[in-house]
Every structure is written in structure tokens, then in C-alpha cells.
Amino acid sequence: MSVHDFYVISPYLAMAGAAVLVILVDLFLPPRSKGLLPYVAFAALAGPFVMTLIQSYDLGASTSLLHGAGAFATEDPSILLGTLAVDRFALFFNFLIIGSVALVVLSSADYVRNMERFQGEYFALILFAATGMMLLAAATELITIYVSLELTTLPLAALAAFLMNQRSSEAGMKFLIIGAISSALMLYGMALLFGFTGSTQLADISAAIGQATGDTPFGNYALFVGIILMIAGFGFKLSAAPFQMWVPDVYEGGPTPVVGFLSVASKAAAFAILIRVFFTGFFDVALDWGILIAGLAAASMVIGNLVAISQTNIRRLFGYSTISHAGYILIGVAAGVKSGEGVFRVPEFAAIGPDSVLFYLAAYAAANLTAFFAITIISSKISSDQISDYAGLSSRNPVLAIVLALSLLALIGVPPTGIFIAKLYIFTAAVDSGLIWLAVLGVINSAVSAYYYVKIIRVMFNQPATSEEKITASPAPWLALGLAGAAMVFMGIAPGFVMEAAQEAVKALAV
């Protein structure tokens, strides 16, 4: 590996290094000052962040930092070629993931205080998972994809089971087993793909798929089954129907900040790899999987929203809500494919689809994290997740109540919040690609979703408080809450910045 290669993977190394660092610090910190750990972790994130910043600066006009053979006569080609792409797409997600990790770490400050031991491990695991997610967003080779996928799944499973109580370990177990089974399916799919195309690199794969011309869907049985099995694997991470059933349980059982992290960062990474693989790898058969994705989107929205209506546990409710949001985002993915004119109906790439997906992910991250941070603060005080116990929150801590209400409204898609623009953007994309039925279904679903989100607001503001005890928190969670909320509103009022970033990122896919 040349120095250049180390520079290329430096954000990921830095992230992993941060994890190790936290553990080491944890070893030497005296028990009473364990409270510093979240701040250490937060500080350690400076490493990956700075490296990503530098890279995005260096990237300049070129599409990827990796030098192909003969890129520069002077340097020998990078040995990372084929396994990794350091382009705007990857960097967009690096920023997104690092940002959410930072907030999650901050928000956990109070939360971990109630654990006697292993606070260091808690943060380390989060950072490891983040490493996996960043890699996932950048990976361009099946083995790398698989490994980084597992690198995100396993630490999260450990974190889900972290609380060592019945629900938590049950959640971890469910996450692990479903993860294992779906990754086994995905592996078989990858194997078939590899067998047919003779390579594990997306570039070669897409080249090989170009030749596949049969009358079966995707032109070939191996591709057909292989791609669908891979969708199953990704679908687990996307929490899209019909691979979504684990979601509510894990959300209900796992530690709240972890669940927030899971619902935002891991979903983002999953969408990153989905877009990367399907748009750069499988684009020649896009017309076949496009409609399939559309179907998944519809199913996810409907199931998520309808079941959420009758939920009484707020985290479980968010589990279903995240399913429905996966549905909305999938609309954008499906909208990335336009069926071109002509006899052969070759697919056309509609950049607005992925654009909207990336913007939505950012907006969703902000809104959902805000909600989860608020829930974290609340649940660590009232130690309950029953919506009915949120009664009278507006009197117990008005600001908190208002922020939570805002984030709920944001999740409905009420202006002026990021998701309003994002939804508009995604439905625009859908209509643009002729998926009007999907857009209509989407808007109707968001109308329905208003019902259960507003139900929570109603409980918080209308019903009398059960206890007068004020709800308080230390600065760190407040900071996290404030930052996330600010981002949420900012993207609604001035979405231009993030939108442009997203568009730049999607340009890098260069389909």
C-alpha cells in the first residue's frame, strides 16, 4: 500500500482508530471521571471529519481520489482500485454519518451514566459500526460490501443487546439472527452474481450484465435470483417491507440512542450501497428492478403507516414510522429510472431520483435524531416509553415538548422543515419519472401518518401531567438536540446547500 492509499482510506482508519482510542482512554480513566468519555469520543471524531474535509477539498473536479493505472505516470496505480471509490457520493455519506454519530455520542452522555461499566465499549462499538457504514457507502466490490455490511451489523447487534435486560437481549438476538439469515441469502446472491459475471467488482459486473440478454427477467436466471437475493440482504438494512418485521421489536428493546443511530445512519448507509450497487452495477437491467423497488416502496409505506396507527409504545411507533419513511425514500430510488423511448426500452438515468433520496436522508436524519434525542431525555427521566406517559409534557418541560412536537410535525412533512422539502422533492422525482400513482400513494400516506404523529403531540399538550417533576438533562444532550433541531429547520428554510451537495454527490455515480 502506498502512502496515497493510506491517505485515501484515512477517514475510515481514523474512525476505527477513534474507537480504539476511546477504549484505551476508558482503561485509564478513573471511574468517577467516566463522564468525560462521550466528550472524548466526540473529540475523537475530529479525526475522520477532518480527513473527510481534506479529501472533499482535494477531490476538486475529479470524480474519485483513486488513481487508475496510468492516472499519473509517476505513481503506480492504487491497489485499492475496484474495492473502494472515494468520490463525492461517498463523502456526502461520510459527512452525514459522522454528523449523526457525533450527535448520537453527545446525546448518550446522560444515558450511559447509569451503566456501571463498559461505557468505553459502548462508544467504541458505535464508532466501529460507523466505520462499517462509511465503508459501505464507498465500497464498490462485493467482498468489501459484504464485510462492511457485517461490520455495521455486528456492533449494532451487540449494542442492541447492550442493556443486559430481557428486552434488550431479545432485541439483540433478533437483530443478529435476522441479520445473519438475510446476509446468508445475500451471500448466495452475490455468489450467483460472481459466478455469472466472473468478478466481484461492480465495474466488471455491470459490463458483464450488459451482455445478458434472455427473455427471463434480468435476462438470465443467475442474475434474476442473485439480484433478488441481494435485495433481500439490503432490504434488511433498509428496513423495507417485506424485510422489515424485525424493526419494531429492535426499536422497542434497544437502547434509545442506539436505536436513533440505527434508524438514521445505518439506513443512510444501506441506501448508499443500494444506490451505488443498483445504479452503477445493475443499471442495464434497471427497468426490471425499478418497478420492483417501486413495489417495495408502496408496501413499506402502507404497512408502516397503517400498523403505526394503533401503537402505544413510542419507540415501537417510531419503528413503524421508520419503515414508512424507508418507503418514501425508496420512491426516490425507483424514480431514478426512466424507461427510455424506442423499441428496446433501454433505461434512462433520472438524476433527480437519487438527488431526492440523498436530500431526504439528510432531512430525515435531522428530524428523526431530534425526535430520538428528545425521547432519550424523556425516557431516562420517566423511564417509560408508553405514549400515555407523555401526558402533560408541555408543562413538565415546554421547550422539550415543543421541539419534540416540531420533529413529529417534520416527520409528517409539515413545513417549514427539511422533510417537507424532501417529500416535495421525492414526489417531484416520482412524477417526473412517470410514477404518478406512487406519488399519490405517497402523499396520501403522509396524510394518514399525520394521525399517529399528531396523536403524540395531543397527548403531550392536551392531557394533564401525571407528575409535576420537571424533566431535565445535562448540556450534552441539549446540545445534540439543539443541533439536530436546528439542522431540521434549516433544511426546511434554506434547503439549497444540502440539495447542491446531494446533486454533486449523485453526479459522481456517473451512470
Binding site: 475510515y12 447509569n114 465499549e121 459502548y122 467504541a124 457485517e150 447487534a157 451487540a158 442493556l163
Partner: protein, 198 residues
């Protein structure tokens, strides 16, 4: 080729039989032992497929580590007497598995695979039985690898080289993964029940 065929079928019987045993026998302990049989069979397959190195790894890691771990776990959780009972999902599980099998077999049979050209067989053989570095030029020439640069290429290529060259990134990633998994497991088997909050 007769001998190999016989071995193949033998292994097949071992593998499938063992696998069925794993998922069917009521006694969890026996199931675990049968699992080892399957692992061995798979190792046998690897040898048949001229992947001796993998076979070794298989035996070491799976039989030596994983299976033993599982057996310990079986002991520790003391659930042996409860055994390995089926749940209510048998029928759907069987149906779905059967359907998937049908699909996969169709794939295996109906796909037009792009086979390795005959003239390359020998070289591939050499490279895969990753003992290439020790071979002499004569042996290589016998195997049809005549030109020196070809010989050099074949000599250099080996699993280990790949792992630190083309696949260095997943290699590093997997090391991180192992570390993470280690830490996770460590945390989870910790003695104190920790906090009860959810």
C-alpha cells in the same frame, strides 16, 4: 475420474445427511456433533475442488473453533434435555425452503455458465493448489506453463498475495470487524447484569 466421483457422492451423502441430522435430530448435542460431520464433508469438497488451503482453514476454524464453541454453549445453557424441538413454523419453513431449492436448482441448471476454457485448466489448477511457489520450472513446464514470465506470474499469484494486495481493504475491514465482535461478545458475557433500564 471414477475415484473422485465416488468420493464426491460419499461426501454428498455425508453433508446432506449430516445437515438433515442437524436440523432434525431432537438432541441438540448430537446435532452439534453432526454439524462437525458436515463441516468435514465441506472440507472434503474443498479438496475435491483443489482448494486445499481452504480445506485446512475450514477444518481449523469451523471444526476447531466454531463447532467447539457451539458445543460449549450447548453445555452451558443446559437446555439439552429440552432438546431441539421444532416450532410451529415447520410447514411454511419446509415449503419455502423447497421452493427456494427449486429456484436455485433451476438457476444452476438453466443458466448458461461461462466455463473456464480447457487450455487454462492446468494453470488455474496450479494457481489454486496454492503450492505454486515451491514448484520448479520443470514441473511448471509440464503443466504447460512454458514461458518464463508466465511462470513468474503463476509463482507470484497466491491467496496470501491477494489478501494483502487486491483485497487489502476488506482484509483490514475484517480485522476491525473481528475486534468489534470480540469487544461486543466480551461486553455481553460480562458478569454483572448491568442496568435494567430499557
Amino acid at each position: 475420474m471414477l475415484f473422485q466421483d465416488v468420493v464426491f457422492w460419499l461426501l454428498t451423502v455425508m453433508a446432506v445427511g449430516g445437515a438433515l441430522g442437524v436440523v432434525l435430530v431432537p438432541d441438540l448435542f448430537r446435532a452439534a456433533l453432526l454439524l462437525i460431520v458436515v463441516f468435514m464433508a465441506v472440507a472434503g469438497f474443498f479438496i475435491l475442488l483443489s482448494a486445499e488451503f481452504l480445506a485446512v482453514v475450514q477444518v481449523l476454524i469451523y471444526v476447531g473453533a466454531i463447532a467447539i464453541l457451539i458445543i460449549f454453549a450447548v453445555m452451558l445453557t443446559r437446555d439439552v434435555q429440552r432438546g431441539n424441538l421444532p416450532n410451529r413454523l415447520q410447514i411454511p419453513a419446509a415449503v419455502f425452503a423447497a421452493l427456494l431449492l427449486a429456484a436455485l436448482v433451476t438457476v444452476a441448471v438453466d443458466t448458461k455458465w461461462d466455463f473456464l476454457p480447457a487450455d487454462q485448466q492446468a494453470r488455474a489448477e496450479l494457481v489454486q493448489t496454492s503450492a505454486v511457489t515451491t514448484l520448479t520450472a520443470e514441473e511448471l513446464t509440464e503443466a504447460g506453463v512454458t514461458s518464463p514470465e508466465e511462470q513468474a506470474e503463476v509463482r507470484e499469484s497466491g491467496l496470501a498475495d491477494l489478501l494483502i494486495s487486491d483485497y487489502v481493504l476488506p482484509f483490514e475491514a475484517v480485522s476491525v470487524l473481528l475486534l468489534a465482535a470480540l469487544i461486543g461478545a466480551l461486553v455481553l458475557v460480562r458478569p454483572d447484569p448491568g442496568t435494567r433500564r430499557g
